[in-house]
């Protein structure tokens, strides 16, 4: 049976993990390669690197991090942040990423999804989506880390994303992100009902049971979290043990 995936996300700025990661045994808490290795050791099913600066000047340093990680960590590596062209995708894949995550650039230029899928294959195109309730019973898509309302309906957008050949959707709820009250089950259900590609739940994990709940209540195939894992509040083995005890398939 296909296991549900637990995915830690590392935000990287100028070659360092933002805020650092609090792991026993990892001396340089800001070293992304060491942090990724530790997550790999803990049993992370995939690792996401996000370039939060995404400046042209910093790109080389960021890709060095990806390159170095790919030499030591043998689980799928997804890389996002600042990827806005096919050339950026190629460069990132060549550095060792298995998948590329595009978000704002895809909303602003949906053609990028089609081009990426055609050239590199759907399997490596993840479309990240930041969405928020519109107050009228629906959801709207935002760009630039949730700062710009794109006036795009979420459910129409996910259909387009699938139809253009994306291999996966990473759905982040702005309403639940950072609140730590659990994943946005309602939004996830609505999106999973619309598409037949894998959906990763993101934003809102605050306690152990939130992971099992998202897998029991929705068709999300993976759950992503960042700070919860970084600060050692929860470990990946704890999350997996809890899910397993509730009958959810875990690697």
């Amino acid at each position: 049976m296909l296991a549900k995936r637990i995915i830690p996300c590392l935000d990287v700025r100028h070659g360092k993990v933002v805020k650092g990661v609090n792991f026993e045994g990892v001396k340089d808490v800001g070293d992304p390669v060491a942090c990724a290795s530790e997550y790999n050791r803990q049993g992370a099913d995939e690792i996401v690197f996000y370039d939060i600066v995404a400046s042209h000047e910093g790109r080389g340093t960021f890709l060095d991090v990806v390159r170095e990680t790919a030499k030591q960590v043998f689980v799928p590596l997804t890389v996002g942040g600042g990827i806005s062209s096919v050339a950026d995708m190629r460069e990132t894949l060549r550095a060792g990423a298995d998948k590329i995550s595009i978000n704002s650039s895809a909303v602003k230029n949906p053609q990028l999804i089609s081009e990426g899928a055609e050239i590199f294959g759907s399997q490596c195109i993840v479309v990240g989506i930041d969405a928020k309730r519109d107050g009228k019973g629906g959801y709207t898509v935002y760009a630039n880390g949730g700062r710009i309302d794109m006036k795009v309906d979420l459910l129409k957008w996910v259909e387009e994303v699938e139809q253009r050949g994306a291999g996966e959707i990473c759905l982040n709820s702005i309403d639940t992100d950072g609140v730590r009250g659990g994943f946005d089950l309602e939004m996830l259900k609505a999106v999973c009902a619309r598409v037949n590609i894998p959906v990763i739940a993101s934003g809102g994990a605050g306690k152990l049971s939130d992971f099992a709940t998202v897998f029991q209540e929705t068709d999300a195939t993976a759950a992503l979290a960042a700070s919860l894992f970084h600060f050692g509040e929860l470990t990946i083995p704890q999350v997996k043990a809890d899910c397993r005890s509730k009958g959810i398939a875990m690697r």
Binding site: M1, L2, A3, K4, R5, N40, D45, A70, K71, Q72, F74, V75, P76, L93, R94, G96, D98, F120, G121, S122, Q123, C124, G167, E168, N196, I197, P198, D219, T221, A222, A249, R251
Partner: protein, 201 residues
């Protein structure tokens, strides 16, 4: 020395990263003489079947791969595994290498998400040197929309995705194929690559 066939496959670098990490001597090549000299061959592959077959044919290595597969271990990975079969109907009918009897079609279930993406558990049907020393349960990383249809005698292991998906296949002699990515399947995936190297000694 393992020859990794260079025909533009997307996972070539990941496979080489894993071999390098394991200190397994390898070369990335499209040179027939180098493949002839190698102890074993890896055929990587990501993307669509017809495009990959066309690229492989473009290297002029199809004959070389067939000859080598009759006398030394060959491992096809992901699309490289699918290419070992006789034909696929991905984006139209296309011939494969024909090293293992069988065909490649879309995953037939309408009840599952396509692509089949993530870690799935292998159900072992026969012993294989590739699985030597690997503890169960064994989950490996898959990402594909098409799957092989072949005789049970060619299946070392399958996984369940609302139906039987051949995961590790063989011709019973030198040819092996992994639908999953051993190079992305953590420690156990690395062990399989190590085991593959050992079959060549």
């Amino acid at each position: 020395m393992i020859a990794v066939i260079d025909y533009g496959a997307g996972n070539l670098f990941s496979v080489c990263n894993a071999l390098r990490y394991l200190n397994i001597a390898h070369c990335v090549t499209k040179d027939a003489a180098e493949i002839d000299r190698a102890d074993a061959v890896i055929l990587p592959g990501v993307g669509a079947f017809p495009a990959a077959m066309a690229s492989l044919e473009g290297t002029g290595l199809v004959g070389t791969i067939r000859e080598n597969a009759a006398r030394k271990p060959l491992l096809g990975i992901c699309l490289g595994m699918q290419m070992l079969f006789e034909r696929s109907d991905e984006n139209g009918e296309c011939k494969g290498l024909g090293l293992i009897p069988g065909e490649v079609h879309l995953i037939p279930s309408k009840r599952v998400i396509i692509p089949h993406m993530g870690w799935n558990e292998l159900v072992i049907k026969q012993e294989s040197p590739l699985l030597s020393g690997i503890e169960m349960p064994l989950y490996t990383y898959f990402v594909h929309s098409y799957q092989a249809f072949c005789d049970d005698s060619n299946i070392i292991a399958y996984c369940d995705y609302d139906g039987k998906v051949p995961a590790l296949v063989t011709d019973g002699k030198y040819v092996f194929g992994a639908q999953f990515h051993p190079e992305k399947s953590g420690e156990k995936g690395l062990m399989m690559l190590r085991n593959f190297e050992r079959t060549a000694i």
